[in-house]
């Protein structure tokens, strides 16, 4: 049996389908559930709001073309900072493969102490390291998780590593979902070499081979139900960049899996009249607020050469900080340096000398998504502990770069020029308003959180809604707390577990 991919924009009129399981969203969570269930013999339909691009197509895009076609809203999506919290640029994908297509490939299992915390505090005692191990193993095998050799580190990362050693700690190698990676460094815009095994590369072919039908450019509005059971979804077909509605979408299914990501799954549930009873829907959003540090060295680094993400440090985990190597396009580096005209060009010519490293906060949460006038609106009120960590993470990274020999460091603070070791010492980072910190996030989690009681969570330990039987959620939104590490393996593994439970349960 072989499945199919249909671009919704090519269809005329309305679309009506029948299936066993309809999966809404084709990202890290949805695509895994779809493949696992299709392979178990279920008739699966996958609906994705974005378009389908083949690796050849997205591989041929310039970064800004990828941003306009694969990233949601040109990567200009935000969580508005409440009170003394920063405005956070929360980015995500909108295409077949979801945000998975855009990752740096970093893979971490859910840390054991996090799973212990879920068991103790949230009663999720089924999600132990031992019981999750088969899920982790299955995911890691499917996406080919391997360690990044030191030889693939960019000079940018090597500079931070040098500073770290001076400061008394060592970087650790990252593991990534790659095979035959050549270190070209453009993972965040879609791998042009088929080396990154994002879900569209690793799981979609499996789903299709097992007969799944994927429809892109299909926006799901809500879940339908009858007598307390989910019966399918309705929505609209769209076309082109304007996402103009071209027809109605109706899918009748015996089970529904919502996997539209942490920003959008709560909206689908809310529009379906589901999930509100606990008062947790759309709440508890954690983000791993992140800060990038740039540093100028005398030597030429060409920091874009090498694996985009190759090393990390958990030296400051006790302070709720994880530092991870990264790089950003030279245009972005140039833009964040102060200067207009000749001064800008002089700084831009220094880009080959710039190293970049990132730090993220293992946050307590404080984010909310809700529908305002038909649009998704996110806010984030930073926990006081995390607010106090912001200047700490910035100072640690800056000092590490200086220890590595940086001449100047560009702090992620709006309106601030490059700092030297002396000016950093006298800079009162603690009293800089949070709104001036340039903060970003790629890890929204927790808005339909999993839990052991209906009073405190949106879905049960099997991923099923407490309120509507046959409705499952399987994406980042169910991850109940922040992780302190990049989340894709956690999301894919939790999705695997949900799929296996669905597979083993007969239809009513």
């Amino acid at each position: 049996m072989s499945g199919s991919i249909t671009q919704g924009g090519t269809l005329d009129g309305d679309l009506e389908l029948d299936c066993d399981v309809v999966v809404v969203g084709s990202g890290a969570g949805g695509m895994v559930v779809a493949a696992e269930l299709a392979e178990a013999g279920h008739d699966v339909v996958i609906l994705e709001e974005g378009r389908h691009y083949t690796p050849e197509e997205y591989g041929a895009m310039r970064p800004s073309e990828s941003m306009r076609h694969l990233w949601r809203d040109g990567a200009l999506t935000f969580a508005v900072g409440m009170d003394d919290s920063p405005m956070i640029n929360v980015t995500m994908g909108r295409a077949v493969g979801g945000s998975s297509v855009l990752t740096g490939g970093v893979c971490f299992r859910t840390p054991g102490y996090i799973l212990d915390d879920w068991a103790k505090r949230l009663g999720l005692s089924d999600l132990t390291e031992a019981s999750m191990d088969p899920c982790f193993t299955a995911v890691e095998k499917s996406v080919h998780v391997e360690e990044v050799p030191v030889s693939m580190r960019s000079k940018s990362t090597l500079m931070f590593a040098r500073g770290a050693e001076q400061q008394g700690f060592k970087l650790k190698p990252l593991r990534r979902n790659t095979k035959n990676c050549n270190g070209c460094g453009r993972c965040n815009f879609g791998c042009p070499h088929g080396a990154k095994l994002s879900v569209d590369a690793a799981y979609l072919p499996r789903a299709l081979a097992a007969g799944a039908r994927l429809y892109s450019e299909c926006f799901v509005d809500r879940v339908t139900s009858d007598g307390g059971r989910a019966t399918g979804v309705v929505g609209r077909l769209t076309r082109g960049s304007s996402r103009r509605k071209t027809g109605r979408l109706t899918v009748r299914a015996r089970r529904v899996v919502v996997a539209a990501g942490s920003y959008f799954s709560p909206g689908i549930l809310a529009r379906s009249g589901v999930g509100k009873q606990s008062g947790q829907l759309g709440r508890n959003m954690t983000l791993h607020p992140g800060f990038r540090m740039m540093a100028r060295f005398d030597e030429r680094l060409d920091g874009w050469k090498g694996a985009l993400q190759s090393a990390y440090s958990d030296e400051y985990e006790k302070d709720h900080i994880t530092m991870v190597g990264l790089f950003i396009p030279p245009g972005v580096i140039a833009a964040t340096m102060k200067g207009v005209g000749p001064k800008h060009l002089a700084k831009a010519r220094g880009v080959p000398h710039v190293a970049v490293f990132g730090g993220m906060i293992h946050d307590e949460g404080g984010g909310t998504v809700r529908n305002v006038l038909g649009r998704t609106f996110a806010t984030y009120k930073m926990h006081p502990r995390d607010r106090a960590t912001m200047p700490k993470v910035v100072r640690i990274m800056a000092e590490t770069f200086f220890a590595g020999g940086a001449k100047e460091v560009y702090l992620p603070i709006l309106g601030l020029d490059a700092v030297t070791p002396d000016s950093l010492r006298t800079l009162d980072l603690d009293h800089i308003p949070a709104k001036r910190y340039e903060c970003s996030s790629q890890h929204p989690l927790g808005t339909c959180r999993m839990g052991s009681t209906a009073a405190h969570s949106v879905v049960d330990p099997s991923g099923e809604s407490w309120e509507l039987s046959g409705l499952f959620v399987a994406d980042g939104s169910i991850v109940p707390t922040s992780l302190g590490v990049n989340p894709q393996v956690t999301i894919m593994s939790m999705a695997t577990r949900i799929a296996w439970k669905m597979r083993d349960r007969p239809y009513d």
Partner: protein
């Protein structure tokens, strides 16, 4: 957008040649066409920038009427002011696209095929 771009990318002699600016503005327009709701935010930032510049410079003169050296001076003042975020938003978009032009990339020593045109394609 062009008024700002000409100032941002100007060297001591003037703005980059017209062909490159045409390419940049065409591509910015295409970007804006594809980014859904964010289009309004970018246009808003651009309007905001035009609106605050005469206030920040206290000259009352609009960006569009300024010579390029005047624009550079005015935007430098904006960058130092409360409105720096508006300039950053516009400058970020312009820079991302501008330095994807292989000639512009080369001029700053950026030679990564995969981040401009794709190697092997």
């Amino acid at each position: 957008m062009r008024v700002v771009a000409e100032a941002v990318f100007s060297d001591g002699e003037g703005p980059p040649d017209a062909d490159r600016m045409d390419w940049l503005i065409r591509d910015v327009d295409d970007f804006l066409e594809h980014i859904g709701d964010s289009r309004r935010s970018v246009i808003g930032a651009l309007f905001g920038l035009h609106a605050v510049t005469p206030v920040v410079t206290r000259s009352g003169q609009s960006l569009a009427r300024m010579s390029i050296p005047e624009r550079i001076e005015a935007l430098t003042k904006v960058e130092e002011s409360f409105a720096s975020g508006l300039l950053l938003a516009v400058k970020a978009l312009l820079c991302i696209i501008y330095y994807e032009h292989p000639d512009a990339g080369r001029e700053i020593g950026f030679d990564a095929g995969c981040l401009t045109e794709v190697a092997g394609s």
